[in-house]
């Protein structure tokens, strides 16, 4: 009898405990980042007082009533990218080519009401904060929207400027997760970010490959610092914090000191986060030092440049890719053919995503006309272009207008990358639905 009473009392207490944990819970689901409950910060310990990005921020300003000038001879769209004076010029050139191809194809189809689209091209490298000045110039040029850029430092500075100028920005190359965590309703990003990449790598490394002790070597600038953050957070939540975090500078060619430190702790695997060139050199040096651990890397390694520099050492490397360039997608095949014909080279990830992003801008202008606010409205409404089938696949935006569509694992086999689905990826459109407490 006493035992039975104990059970009843304990059950009541247990129910009370469970009730208390949801007492202040919000019923609305977050629309953010494909973040599962398991990966949400502090989820095991504490509900947050306030969850952001539950609902997209709207733009409540004026301007929807503005009529376009009657004397237009062209429809200007801006472009901002690293075109000279930057270590990622090759990526910027591909992004420019993808944008150009979209513009040329649109003009072949009559442009906008028989007015040709014109790309206003800006280089984002220059004096400090050059991107801000370039956005001002685009405002003076009266562009209707613009596309860019790749480097986080450029994109963030440009984003704040574009908010002031009220010009819609479509980003197709910056993987910084914090870029869309700014609540600015004048940007969409149509490429998977380092949050998605970090989640995928962490799942693959710890759940699929069952590694435990992982060493990290990353570039010592914003791309490496912010890029590794999401992977690092998930690794901790999965119970496998980084065993060591070594850094290198862009342009560095000798990584002996960092790799000796890594070698000393004898990790199960090594993760490199950096640009293609340095990552390839690091990988070669890892192998030349006799380290045989599996190596993983950030998605900038998924490039011809990486394969050429790394050579045989690249074999077995695993990374992620924001799309599958070998997908059986007629749109993609058509794009690849047209791009190769036009530019005499294979398109890379930046070209393909820029092509999609520029097409979204063109479609938004064709749908809403020449009004910056209306172009913004349609690109951010999460309806009109939600699920847009581009050459990179289906584009799905979350509540911060960040692309949470499918990304892929990329593994080097026989000297080339092979693509496969990400393990345990939340089905499209069903991600980031963890219910969280607080307001």
């Amino acid at each position: 009898m006493i035992r039975r009473n104990d059970c009843v009392i304990e059950t009541i207490f247990l129910l009370l405990v469970l009730f208390c944990t949801t007492l202040n819970g919000q019923e609305k689901k977050t629309m953010y980042g494909n973040t599962s409950e398991e990966m949400f910060p502090y989820h095991k310990f504490q509900k947050a007082y306030k969850y952001h990005f539950i609902e997209p921020v709207q733009f409540y300003g004026a301007g929807r009533e503005k009529q376009p000038p009657k004397d237009l001879t062209e429809v200007r769209i801006g472009f901002l990218g690293p075109l000279e004076g930057s270590p990622i010029v090759s990526l910027g050139q591909q992004m420019l080519n993808g944008s150009k191809l979209a513009i040329e194809q649109a003009n072949d189809q009559g442009g906008y009401n028989n007015l040709p689209f014109k790309l206003m091209v800006h280089n984002d490298v220059g004096l400090w904060g050059a991107a801000a000045n370039e956005v001002v110039r685009m405002d003076e040029e009266k562009v209707w929207a613009w596309l860019g850029s790749i480097d986080d430092i450029v994109s963030h500075v440009a984003l704040r400027a574009t908010l002031k100028m009220e010009i819609m920005m479509v980003n197709t190359g910056d993987p910084d997760p914090t870029f869309t965590e700014t609540n600015i309703p004048w940007v969409i990003r149509v490429i998977g970010d380092d949050r998605q990449s970090g989640y995928a790598l962490a799942s693959y490394i710890f759940d699929t490959m069952k590694h435990d002790r992982v060493a990290v070597i990353r570039s010592n600038e914003r791309y490496g610092r912010v890029g590794i953050m999401e992977y690092s957070g998930v690794a901790v939540r999965k119970g496998h914090p980084m065993r060591i975090e070594e850094r290198f500078n862009m342009g560095e060619t000798d990584f002996t000191m960092q790799l000796e430190n890594i070698k000393k702790i004898n990790p199960d695997a090594i993760l490199i986060w950096g640009n293609a060139k340095e990552s390839a050199l690091i990988l070669k040096q890892i192998r030349s030092m006799g380290m045989k651990q599996p190596v993983y890397a950030s998605d900038r390694t998924v490039s011809q440049e990486f394969l050429e520099i790394a050579g045989d050492a690249a074999e077995g490397l695993v990374s992620t890719c924001p799309y599958n360039p070998e997908a059986d997608n007629p749109k993609l095949k058509g794009f690849q053919k047209a791009y190769t014909q036009r530019f005499g080279m294979q398109p890379d990830v930046f070209a393909a995503h820029a092509f999609d992003g520029m097409n979204l801008i063109i479609k938004a202008i064709k749908k809403e006309g020449l009004n910056r606010v209306l172009i913004r409205d349609v690109l951010t409404d999460l309806k009109t272009f939600q699920g847009y089938e581009g050459v990179t696949g289906k584009i799905i935006l979350d509540g911060s207008w960040n692309d949470i569509g499918k990304i892929f694992m990329a593994k080097v086999k026989n000297g080339k990358f092979e693509y496969s689905p990400v393990p345990n990826q939340v089905p499209e459109g069903q991600g980031n639905k963890g219910q969280h407490g607080g307001q």
């Binding site: 006493i2 035992r3 104990d6 009392i9 304990e10 207490f13 247990l14 009370l16 405990v17 208390c20 944990t21 007492l23 202040n24 977050t30 953010y32 980042g33 973040t35 910060p41 502090y42 310990f45 504490q46 509900k47 947050a48 007082y49 306030k50 969850y51 952001h52 990005f53 921020v57 733009f59 409540y60 300003g61 004026a62 301007g63 004096l127 400090w128 904060g129 991107a131 801000a132 000045n133 956005v135 001002v136 405002d139 430092i153 963030h156 500075v157 704040r160 400027a161 002031k164 100028m165 997760p177 914090t178 965590e181 700014t182 609540n183 600015i184 914003r222 407490g437 607080g438 307001q439």
Partner: protein, 381 residues
């Protein structure tokens, strides 16, 4: 034996219940706790929160149809008998009942004017534009740019005069221009505790400068020691505010204003108040704040004037007044929130637009810059 075991089990469960309830801070509990940090007025029995909040009305608006060179007004500054308005198309000045516009043709660095301050020592007007800093003195414009003066960036989001110094906030760092030596000192991630050099607001107190750094919270600079320290959101995550009153509500800060010992911080995620010891956070769901998206903030005496994308809110930290307009008519409403008491007053006419971007207050006058014109209000008796 079983009876002996029963009580420890219950005790453990009870402790679990208490612990599991602890983390969930209720808005009501927070509201009560702020009273402890309220400033005391001359009347010792009266706190700031009990002092009546000023209410403004009788709004008169100006746009491109009746005086401004363009509809979009970024900032406004009351300068004695005249009013300066920064628009996308130039500087508009209201003096003796007449508007006059100044543009690049008159010597301005750029027509887009985002920030204005007036040096109380010299009367010089400092204009932060989209293409450099302009000093308007004795009827002439003198321009400072990256190329001619070493300024951090040409797009200037905020400008503040502080004694002989003029501070600017830009996406390339914060700059301090010494008007005596005519030299710039630049503050970036290289020499200040910022993650990046992206600064979007700057204000001065008696002994400190506060810089709103995008992603870096608030950077405090002590003038005497020339030392920096930073204030960030302790939870370290962009997608949440774990505890509401543990620091600035978000690391993405967009503006700051200091008055009477209180620092007010604007973000696109809510509002923060810092009394030098305690931080307090405000969101649209737990206060009278019109919206979490704050374009600009200005503190005057004990009141913060908060320009949001859905109206102008004012607060003393406890009581709130929000001014909004109806997009489909010239009427608007004034919403008064005093604790749990909420009142709405119809206003006609109202503010020019709900999307408020700048504000200034002097005596019984208030001027508000909006997405569609600028509005002047009067203190209601």
């Amino acid at each position: 034996m079983k009876i002996h075991l029963k009580y420890p089990t219950l005790l453990v469960l009870f402790v679990m219940l208490v612990i599991s309830s602890w983390g969930f801070v209720q808005p009501k509990e927070r509201t009560e706790s702020i009273k402890d940090t309220s400033k005391t007025y001359g009347d010792k029995n009266r706190t700031a929160s009990e002092k009546p909040m000023p209410i403004y009305g009788n709004w008169i608006s100006y746009d491109s149809k009746n005086g401004l060179p363009g509809d979009k007004a970024y900032c406004v500054k009351i300068d004695g008998d005249r009013v300066l308005v920064g628009t996308h198309e130039g500087l508009a000045v209201l003096e003796n009942g007449n508007w006059k516009t100044y543009t690049t043709e008159d010597g301005l660095a750029h027509n887009g004017i985002l920030a204005i301050d007036v040096d109380p020592l010299t009367g010089d007007v400092w204009l932060g534009t989209m293409g450099g800093l302009s000093r308007w003195s004795t009827g002439k414009f003198e321009n400072y740019t990256q190329m001619n003066s070493g300024m951090p960036n040409d797009l200037i989001y905020a400008v503040t005069c502080d004694g002989k110094d003029v501070w600017v906030a830009t996406g390339g760092g914060a700059g301090c221009y010494n008007t005596y030596t005519r030299k710039w000192e630049i503050f970036t991630e290289e020499n200040a505790p910022m993650h990046e050099p992206w600064t979007y607001g700057v204000c001065a107190s008696n002994d400190k400068i506060y810089i709103a750094a995008w992603g870096g919270g608030i950077i405090e600079y002590t003038k005497k020691t020339k030392k920096f320290r930073d204030y960030v959101d302790p939870d370290g995550n962009m997608e949440i505010d774990l505890f509401p009153d543990d620091g600035v509500v978000h690391d993405i800060t967009t503006g700051a204003s200091w008055s009477n010992g209180i620092l007010w911080v604007a973000t696109y995620f809510g509002l923060s108040r810092y009394d030098g010891v305690h931080w307090k956070g405000y969101f649209d769901h737990d206060s009278g704040l019109a919206s979490n998206f704050i374009n600009y903030i200005k503190a005057k005496d004990d009141i913060a004037f908060i320009c949001t994308d859905q109206g102008l809110s004012t607060t003393d930290g406890e009581n709130w007044i929000t001014y909004t307009t109806n997009e489909n008519s010239k009427n608007g409403k004034t919403i008064l929130l005093n604790g749990a008491d909420k009142k709405e007053l119809a206003t006609s006419p109202s503010l020019a637009h709900n999307f408020t971007i700048g504000v200034d207050v002097e005596g019984d006058r208030i001027w508000v810059a909006t997405s569609k014109g600028v509005s002047r209000g009067q203190l209601m008796k």
